[in-house]
């Protein structure tokens, strides 16, 4: 007997995802949707708070990438305190923040690849769920699991010394940073047991693991859940990859620039957010292309499609190989997110090494302030993609308006496309959903590393619900894992 399961709104995005699949007369996939059934509320309840609290308070919406929210908010508040739009911070403040950010990119990418994605690659989509998780990885390939744990630890320790805590620190403050790096802290990363050179080496090893998997599973990696799309990110003014600061750039699926050299302070002129009645997550799009054609992808794949080069040698070499694979055209293959993510991991390790050797981290002015403004926008490339924070304050220094476009929100349309493609490829014409089919849909979602716990191998407790309906929208089957 059919039944309908409803998940009530719960707080924060990490949590529950729901997929619905509609069939036509011939049991072909008519429509698939990824529903985000959670309500956030941060934009509302931040109102009335002192503006300098934003970097500390808003980051609480995430436990995986709080640093990204911390820094995006801090960048927005920099504008408000007259510390410029990324060009006036002291060298110490900017470099400490960059170190914090690249530590975050490193740990988050590592978490995703080793803990969340690698079980699929190691065991296959149809492996039993009870082994398809990080514990299974540890049993099957101890070295891979140890690498994952130690690399993530390294990133977390970098966050701790720059932000004060591994999760939800307070390092970035209005107009700068509140601490230097000590020589002891620096040396622990440069000379310790699992030091930065080890991290660079392991990043390369992880990349080779993936490339090897790609060689052996070319059809799956290249074709599964693939679809053409535009791509958006910030890039450095000269076109280099820069995950901390830059100008907005977007390319279409052929590589034509549809947005270029745009200051993110003007993002509202270029980006709008659509709403749909079946999801709490909005659907951002480029205004000049409209809702239907203006959606875009963000995150590692998008960033490697928008930038001209990567400004560190080892990652640049990998970037050249990545771009050559699609003959210089944008790469539209969803599963190549993993490849792009690991190139960024290597890049992050190289950037951290350069920063750790920079004496500006040890001494120098921490804060700068100027003429106060009533509005500020901060944008950063978070691990999962472009993250927008926008605040307006009143005359009493309280936040009057907040608008957040979170990375996963930018990928809303693309994830729905990916789910649709995955459903077509795996379930077309079939009346019964099997667990491997469901996992395949999750694999497509997982490639985007969305900030939902449905993207995790929660040791057998994945809160993903799939509803199969006939042409009259009657529920044929409901599966929850």
């Amino acid at each position: 007997m059919s039944q309908k399961i409803t998940i009530d709104p719960v707080t924060r995005v990490e949590g529950h995802g729901k997929v619905t699949i509609y069939l036509d007369d011939d049991n072909n996939i008519k429509q698939s949707r990824l529903h985000i059934v959670e309500f956030r509320g941060f934009e509302r309840f931040i109102q009335g708070r002192p503006y300098w609290e934003a970097p500390v308070l808003v980051q609480r919406l995430c436990g995986i990438c709080p640093v990204s929210h911390h820094l995006a908010a801090a960048k927005a508040i920099d504008v408000i305190v007259g510390a410029g739009t990324g060009d006036k911070l002291t060298p110490t403040a900017e470099k400490m923040r960059r170190l914090m950010h690249y530590g975050q990119i490193f740990q988050s990418h590592v978490l995703h690849f080793f803990h969340l994605a690698s079980p699929d690659l190691l065991f296959g989509l149809d492996a039993a769920p009870d082994i398809r998780n990080i514990i299974g990885v540890a049993k099957q390939n101890k070295h891979l699991a140890v690498m994952g744990v130690m690399m993530r630890k390294f990133g977390q320790e970098i966050i701790k010394v720059t932000a004060g805590k591994k999760i939800h620190g307070t390092g970035a403050i209005s107009g700068g940073i509140n601490k230097h790096l000590t020589i002891e802290e620096r040396d622990s990363f440069l000379k310790g047991e699992n030091n930065i050179d080890q991290m660079i080496e392991w990043s390369g090893e992880a990349l080779n693991f993936l490339k090897n998997y790609h060689r052996n599973n070319k059809d799956f990696i290249d074709n599964f859940a693939s679809f053409p799309s535009s791509h958006l990110s910030i890039v450095r003014k000269d076109g280099a990859m820069d995950l901390y600061h830059g100008v907005m750039r977007a390319v279409d699926n052929e590589g034509n620039r549809i947005l270029d050299d745009v200051s993110y302070q003007d993002y509202l002129n270029y980006i709008a957010e659509g709403v749909k009645n079946w999801s709490y997550m909005k659907f951002p799009y480029l205004k000049h292309l409209g809702k239907e054609k203006g959606w875009y992808r963000v995150g590692p794949l998008a960033r490697l499609n928008t930038c001209d080069f990567i400004p560190t040698p080892l990652a640049q070499k990998e970037f050249e190989e990545f771009r050559a694979y699609t003959k210089g055209k944008p790469n539209n293959m969803s599963m190549h997110y993993h490849w792009a993510r690991l190139i960024e991991t290597l890049h992050a390790a190289e950037v951290m090494k350069d920063l750790l050797n920079d004496k500006d981290l040890l001494t120098g002015e921490l804060i700068v302030k100027g003429e106060k403004q009533s509005e500020g926008i901060g944008v950063i490339e978070a691990p999962r993609g472009t993250l927008f924070h926008h605040y307006r304050i009143n005359d009493n220094d309280q936040i009057a308006m907040a608008n957040l476009i979170v990375s996963t929100t930018n990928n809303n349309d693309p994830m729905n496309f990916a789910v649709n493609e995955a459903a077509k490829q795996m379930m077309q014409g079939k009346r019964e959903i099997t667990e491997p089919m469901m996992n395949a849909v999750e694999v497509a979602i997982r490639a985007y590393d969305p900030c939902l716990s449905c993207a995790t191998h929660a040791l057998g407790q994945m809160p993903l619900e799939i509803v199969l309906r006939d042409k009259n929208e009657n529920i044929i089957q409901v599966k929850r894992t």
């Binding site: 300098w52 609290e53 500390v56 509140n178 009493n396």
Partner: protein, 231 residues
């Protein structure tokens, strides 16, 4: 020369000076008695009751009670500890305390007391009282959600000619801290900073100075309040 007085705290004999309060005598002898509304150097008010001890069988506030020969004081007994926990929990449920994003976290006496007494969750239901923030003054924000009505600000922050910047308005659960609108306009940076420092919680916030002190370097980050206070 000060006259010495012999008293006992939790059975331990100590020698203190005549005229000292129990809190002062205890501190001088390395014994921690918690305080919240009390601030060294000002006349104690004994309003928060967290320093309650039992003196010869009677409950008294240690910050206001001067020592006398023969005092036998219970400070660390299960009964007193339980009483203090109840007071701390009551303060938590009657305000809206959200430590994670509070500027005072790590420097907050209420938070430090909760850690000291290992309070995981209050036994009483939260009241979720609607309290308004006053951000109208040029230098300070009154975050009334966190106010514990200790009156430290009222008692210590005054103009050069002795006028109060702060006052308590209303009674009972409607009592709230207010700041004189006119005097606030001429408040100096130093006085504003002092007001924030003297506030034991995160109610009085100096504008535009948030989170300057990194986590890990705050007063109660490394040691419990009992160790910090008896050094």
């Amino acid at each position: 020369m000060d006259k010495s007085i012999k008293i006992k705290i939790d059975g331990k004999g100590i020698i203190a000076k005549e005229g000292q309060t129990i809190v002062e005598a205890a501190e001088e002898n390395g014994i921690y008695i918690p305080t919240l509304c009390h601030l060294k150097g000002i006349i104690p008010s004994g309003s928060c009751r967290i320093c309650n001890v039992k003196v010869n069988g009677r409950f008294l506030t240690a910050c206001t009670t001067k020592i006398h020969d023969g005092f036998e004081i219970e400070n660390n007994s299960p009964e007193i500890t339980e009483l203090r926990k109840i007071i701390i929990e009551t303060l938590f449920v009657s305000g809206n305390h959200y430590c994670p994003a509070c500027e005072k976290s790590g420097n907050c006496i209420l938070q430090a007391l909760a850690y000291q007494y290992r309070i995981m969750i209050p036994r009483f239901p939260y009241i979720y009282e609607q309290r308004e923030i006053d951000a109208s003054s040029p230098k300070l924000i009154l975050e009334r959600n966190r106010c514990v009505l200790c009156k430290r600000c009222v008692r210590t922050i005054k103009t050069d000619d002795g006028k109060n910047y702060f006052a308590i308005e209303g009674r009972g659960h409607k009592a709230r801290i207010i700041l004189d609108e006119e005097l606030a306009k001429t408040m100096t940076e130093e006085k504003a900073m002092k007001a924030m420092e003297n506030c034991p919680v995160g109610c009085i916030l100096k504008k535009e100075t948030g989170f300057i002190k990194p986590i890990g370097e705050r007063k109660y980050d490394k040691e419990s309040i009992s160790k910090v206070c008896v050094k």
